[in-house]
C-alpha cells in the first residue's frame, strides 16, 4: 500500500513555525507600540524571545496543565510554561523594519568594493569535491540499467564508474560591500541623567542596530562626539558618562564631525550619518554656524543628519532655527522626544520616507 515516501511532519512543523512567527509579529508590534526597544539586546546578537506556551485547554484538575492558550485565545497566563525561541538579529530587525515600515537605507559606493565568496551550486564531471549523493544516484541508475544491481535476484553490487562521478564546482559570487560611518553627537552640558539619558540611550542603541543591519556587521564604524563649549571625541562607553555644567556651543561638534568625515575618510566611497542629541538650547551665533555647516558642508556629503531635541524646554530653539531651512529635507531630519512612547515616532522621522 505504501510507496517509498518518507514519513515526515514538515508541513505541520511549518504550520507551527508560521504560528510562532505570527505571535512574534504581535510581540514585536507590542514592543514597538510601547516603544520599549531594550529587548533588542546587544548589538548584532541574537535575542531570546519568551512567550507563553500553548496548550490545549481541557477539563483538568487544579495544578495540572499549562497556561491554557490552546485555541490561541484562552486566558490564564499564570503558572504556565514558557516557549523560548532564539531570534536571529537580522530577523528581528527585518520584523521591526516591516512593522515600522522603514525603507532600506540608500547606499553609495555601490560596485566599488566587492565581497567575494564561492558557492557550490553547479556540478561537473571533473573537480575536487566529489558529490557523493549525486554520484551514487547516477551509479545506481547505471547499474540498474546494466543489470548488475538487482535486489530481486540478490545482486547488490553498485560499481561506480568514472562517468558516474559528479563533482561540486565552485561559483564566484560577488556582493557589493558598503562602508558607513556614523557620528553620534551629544551635548554634555545639559542634564543627561535619569529619563533623558534613557531616552537618548534607546535612540542611539536602535540607530546602531539599524545601521549594522543595513550595512552588515563589521561594515559600520560608530564614532562618538560630545561638546560643551568645545567638541571632542570620546569612547562609546563615555558617551553617556561625561558631563559638564556651564556654557555650550553645539556648532563646534557639527564642525568637528564634518572635519573628521572629510579628512579621515574616502568621501566618494563612504556613507556618512550623523545624529545630534541635546536639549536644543542655543547661545550666541550657534544657530547661524550650525545652519552654515549643515548647508555648505554636511548636507552634500552626508546620507543623513538627524537632530533630536531630548525633552526640550522653553529655550530650546535648535530645531526651530534649523527648520527655517530644512523643514522637509530628505537628508536633514528634525525631531524631538519627551516620552519613551515617542521613540518610534522619532525613529520613523529619522529613518522613514520623508
Amino acid at each position: 500500500m505504501f510507496g517509498e515516501e518518507k514519513i515526515s511532519s514538515n508541513e505541520s512543523e511549518g504550520a507551527f513555525t508560521e504560528f510562532v512567527e505570527e505571535q512574534l509579529d504581535e510581540l514585536i508590534e507590542n514592543v514597538v507600540n510601547e516603544g520599549d526597544l531594550t529587548s533588542i539586546g546587544d548589538r548584532g546578537s541574537d535575542i531570546i524571545v519568551e512567550m507563553d506556551d500553548i496548550e490545549v485547554p481541557t477539563f483538568v484538575y487544579e495544578n495540572e496543565g499549562g497556561s491554557g492558550q490552546g485555541s490561541g485565545k484562552g486566558p490564564g497566563k499564570e503558572g504556565g510554561g514558557k516557549m523560548r525561541f532564539s531570534l536571529p538579529f537580522n530577523k528581528l530587525m527585518e520584523l521591526i523594519s516591516s512593522v515600522l515600515d522603514l525603507p532600506n537605507l540608500t547606499k553609495e559606493g555601490k560596485g566599488k568594493i566587492k565581497e567575494v565568496s564561492y558557492e557550490f551550486k553547479t556540478f561537473g564531471q571533473v573537480g575536487v569535491i566529489l558529490d557523493k549523493k549525486r554520484t551514487f544516484k547516477r551509479a545506481l541508475r547505471t547499474n540498474l540499467g546494466m543489470g548488475t544491481y538487482n535486489p530481486q535476484t540478490g545482486q547488490y553490487d553498485v560499481q561506480i564508474r568514472r562517468r558516474d562521478k559528479r563533482y561540486k564546482l565552485p561559483e564566484r559570487v560577488e556582493k557589493p560591500k558598503f562602508k558607513a560611518v556614523v557620528f553620534y553627537m551629544g551635548d554634555i552640558s545639559y542634564s543627561t541623567y535619569g529619563e533623558r539619558l534613557e531616552l537618548e540611550k534607546r535612540l542611539v542603541n536602535f540607530t546602531q542596530n539599524w545601521l549594522d543591519y543595513n550595512y552588515g556587521p563589521g561594515n559600520v564604524e560608530h564614532r562618538f562626539f560630545v561638546h560643551d563649549m568645545d567638541a571632542y571625541e570620546v569612547q562609546a562607553n563615555d558617551f553617556y558618562n561625561v558631563s559638564n555644567m556651564g556654557g555650550t556651543q553645539a556648532a563646534a561638534v557639527f564642525e568637528l564631525v564634518f572635519q573628521v568625515a572629510f579628512n579621515e575618510y574616502d568621501t566618494t566611497g563612504t556613507n556618512f550619518y550623523a545624529f545630534y542629541f541635546g536639549d536644543g538650547e542655543l547661545f550666541d551665533d550657534d544657530a547661524r554656524r550650525i545652519l552654515e555647516t549643515l548647508e555648505e558642508s554636511m548636507r552634500p556629503l552626508f546620507n543623513r543628519v538627524g537632530i533630536v531635541e531630548v525633552q526640550p524646554g522653553r529655550l530650546s530653539l535648535l530645531n526651530r532655527q534649523v527648520a527655517t531651512r530644512f523643514s522637509r529635507d530628505p537628508v536633514v531630519r528634525l525631531s524631538e522626544i519627551n516620552d519613551k512612547r515617542e521613540t518610534i515616532d522619532v525613529i520613523k522621522t529619522l529613518f522613514g520616507v520623508q
Binding site: 500500500m1 517509498e4 505541520s12 513555525t17 485547554p57 484538575y61 495544578n63 486566558p75
Partner: protein, 540 residues
C-alpha cells in the same frame, strides 16, 4: 520508509518470527513490517502511529520540541516498538536497531497483534490504517473548504475534546443514547433495559401479569408522560439520553450539527484517538501478553541461532521489565510476571475452590492437580473476556505485590512524594516498603477515573438547546481558568449554549459570554435516577 523486504537479513528474521509464532498456535492478522529512520519514527509517533496526518500546529510543536530534545541529548531517539494493530497490522522498525533488537520487536509485535484480535473490547478491525488515510484526505479537503483560519480554530476546539472520548466507558454511547438510527444497535452491547430484563425474568403470561398488577392512575399518567417526552425528543432530535453519557466526543461526532468539513475533522480525531481508550484499559494485559510471547519466540530464535546476542537480549529484557512502584505502573513488568503467574495457576490446577479453601500452607505450596490441559487456552480465554481491572482484581494478591516489588519505593522518591514515616513498614539503605494491603485498592482506583476528571453529558436540551455537562465529584476541583476556554471550544462544536456543573457551580458559555453561578449541589446518583425517569436532570 521502506518495506522489510528490502533488507534480506530483516526479511529472514521476520519469516522466522512469524513461523515460530504460528507454530506456537498464535492467531495473527496479516502483519506488514516497515523500516524507518529515527526522524521518521519520531514523526510517526506524533501522528499517532499512522503514516499520514492532516497539517496541524500541535503535531508541529511536538515534533519540533522532540527534535530539539533529541539533538540536545535530553532524550534518546531509540524507540522500542511501534505497531498499529488491526487487520492488516502495520509495524515499524527503527533502522538504527541491531538485528537482535529488530527480532525482539517483531516477536513483541506478534503479541500485540494477537491481543488486539482476541481481546474483549474487540479492538481489531479491518483496514484501520487505510481508513485513517482516507479520513486524512477528507480532512485535508476540509481545510480547502473551510479556509486555514476556520479549519485551525475548529481543529483546536476538537483537540479540547480528545480527553472526553470514552468509547468503552460504562456510560458510552451505546449505553446512554437511544437513537432512531441503527448505528449503535450494531455495536456489541450488553446493556439490557430494566423493563426488558423483568420481562425476561417472567416467563408467564404477560396479559395475566397486567391484570393482576394494579396500576394507579398516577402511575399510568407518569408512564404516558415519559412515553410522550421520549417520542417528542426522538422526533425533534432523533435521539434521547437514557443515562449520563461519558463519551462526550463520540456524542458530538454523531449528534452535533456540523458541516461536511467539520464532520471530517471530528471523524478523523475520533477515529485516531478512539484506540487510546482500549490501550489504557488493557495496557497491563496487552504489554504483558506481548512480552510473554516475545520471550518465548526469542528463545526459539536463539536456539536455532537465527540471531545472536542472548546476553544483550537478557539485559534489554530486564531493563524493560524492571519493577517500579505501583503508582508508576510498569505494564511490561507487571503484565509479564502476572501472565507467568497465571500460567502456573492453570497448569497446576490452582484456579479452583478447593485450592482457595485449603488452609494448610504446605499443601498449597505443593499443589499440583493440573489435568494436563493447556494453560494457554485458559489465558486466551482471559484475554477474550476481561480487561486490566478484572485482571488485577482477580489475580493480584498481597503476596504478588510483595514479590513484584510494587510496594517498594526508592528513598529519594519516597521523600519527593512526601511519604510519611508511619506508612513505612520496612526499610534498608536504598529502599522503603509500604503496606501491600491498600496497594491493590489504589491500583484498581485508577480504572475508575484514569487520573482525569469524569465529565458526563446529562442534558442535550438544557435551557432550550443547551448542552449540559456534569463533573462527577471526586473531591478535586477543576482547573478554573481552563473551564472557560474549554467551554468556548465545546460551544464552537455544539453550536449552542454549553453548561458545566462542577460541585456547586454552574458555568456557561453562550454567545461569546462566559457566566458562572452558584447552585445547590446535585449528586451523580440523583441525576442518573432523574434521567432514567425521563425527568430533567437539573433545573436552574
Amino acid at each position: 520508509m521502506r518495506t522489510v523486504k528490502t533488507d534480506p537479513e530483516l526479511y529472514r528474521l521476520e519469516q522466522r518470527v512469524l513461523h515460530h509464532a504460528k507454530a506456537m498456535g498464535r492467531s495473527l492478522p496479516e502483519i506488514r513490517f516497515f523500516i524507518l529512520d529515527s526522524w521518521e519514527f519520531l514523526s510517526l509517533l506524533e501522528k499517532y502511529v499512522y503514516p499520514v496526518s492532516p497539517i496541524n500546529i500541535w503535531e508541529g510543536k511536538r515534533v519540533i520540541t522532540k527534535k530539539h530534545r533529541v539533538e540536545s541529548g535530553q532524550e534518546s531517539s531509540l524507540y522500542y516498538e511501534v505497531v498499529q494493530t488491526g487487520n492488516p497490522s502495520y509495524a515499524y522498525l527503527n533502522a538504527t536497531n541491531s538485528p537482535m533488537m529488530q527480532a525482539s520487536v517483531m516477536a513483541h509485535v506478534c503479541g500485540h497483534c494477537e491481543f488486539s484480535e482476541l481481546n474483549v473490547l474487540e479492538d481489531s478491525n479491518s483496514d484501520r490504517t487505510e481508513y485513517v488515510m482516507y479520513l486524512v484526505k477528507k480532512a485535508n479537503a476540509a481545510r480547502q473548504q473551510m479556509g486555514d483560519k476556520v479549519f485551525l480554530q475548529y481543529w483546536n476546539a476538537c483537540e479540547s475534546l480528545v480527553p472526553l472520548l470514552s468509547p468503552h466507558s460504562q456510560f458510552n454511547l451505546a449505553r446512554s443514547i437511544s437513537s432512531d438510527s441503527l448505528q449503535h444497535h450494531q455495536e456489541h452491547d450488553t446493556y439490557v433495559p430494566e423493563d426488558a430484563k423483568s420481562d425476561l425474568m417472567q416467563p408467564f403470561s404477560h396479559t395475566m401479569n397486567r391484570l393482576l398488577q394494579s396500576e394507579t392512575a398516577e402511575g399510568a399518567w407518569k408512564k404516558e408522560m415519559r412515553k410522550k417526552i421520549y417520542q417528542e425528543a426522538m422526533s425533534r432530535h432523533g435521539y434521547t439520553l437514557k443515562a449520563p453519557c461519558q463519551d462526550v466526543m463520540g456524542f458530538l461526532c454523531n449528534y452535533a450539527s456540523v458541516s461536511k468539513g467539520e464532520k471530517a475533522i471530528l471523524n478523523y480525531m475520533t477515529t485516531v484517538h478512539a484506540t487510546h481508550d482500549f490501550v489504557i484499559r488493557t495496557q497491563i494485559m496487552n504489554e504483558g501478553w506481548a512480552m510473554y510471547w516475545e520471550k518465548k519466540i526469542m528463545l526459539e530464535l536463539f536456539k536455532e541461532k537465527a540471531v545472536k546476542g542472548i546476553i544483550d537480549y537478557a539485559k534489554v529484557f530486564s531493563g524493560v521489565c524492571y519493577p517500579r512502584p505501583y503508582y508508576m505502573r510498569n505494564p511490561y513488568h507487571l503484565g509479564f510476571y502476572m501472565w507467568n503467574h497465571i500460567e502456573e495457576l492453570y497448569r497446576d490446577g490452582k484456579v479452583c475452590l478447593e485450592y482457595l479453601e485449603e488452609t494448610d500452607q504446605k499443601k498449597k505450596e505443593n499443589w499440583n492437580r493440573g489435568n494436563g490441559s493447556d494453560p494457554v487456552k485458559a489465558m486466551e480465554h482471559l484475554v477474550g473476556t476481561i480487561t486490566d481491572y478484572d485482571f488485577l482484581r482477580r489475580f493480584l494478591t498481597v503476596e504478588l505485590i510483595e514479590e513484584f516489588h510494587l510496594n517498594r519505593i526508592n528513598k529519594r522518591e519516597a521523600q519527593q512524594i512526601g511519604l510519611s514515616p508511619e506508612d513505612v513498614i520496612k526499610e534498608d539503605s536504598y529502599w522503603v516498603w509500604i503496606d501491600p494491603q491498600p496497594v491493590k485498592e489504589e491500583m484498581l482506583k485508577f480504572f475508575t477515573h484514569f487520573y482525569r476528571p469524569r465529565i458526563y453529558i446529562i442534558d442535550t436540551d438544557f435551557q432550550d438547546g443547551g448542552l449540559l455537562l456534569y463533573h462527577r465529584d471526586d473531591g478535586r476541583r477543576l482547573k478554573k481558568n481552563w473551564i472557560k476556554p474549554t467551554l468556548k471550544n465545546l460551544n464552537l462544536i455544539w453550536k449552542g449554549p454549553v453548561f458545566l456543573i462542577s460541585k456547586n457551580w454552574l458555568y456557561s458559555f453562550s454567545a461569546n459570554l462566559f457566566k458562572e453561578a452558584v447552585i445547590t449541589e446535585v449528586s451523580f446518583e440523583q441525576i442518573q435516577e432523574k434521567i432514567s425517569n425521563s425527568e430533567q436532570p437539573f433545573r436552574f
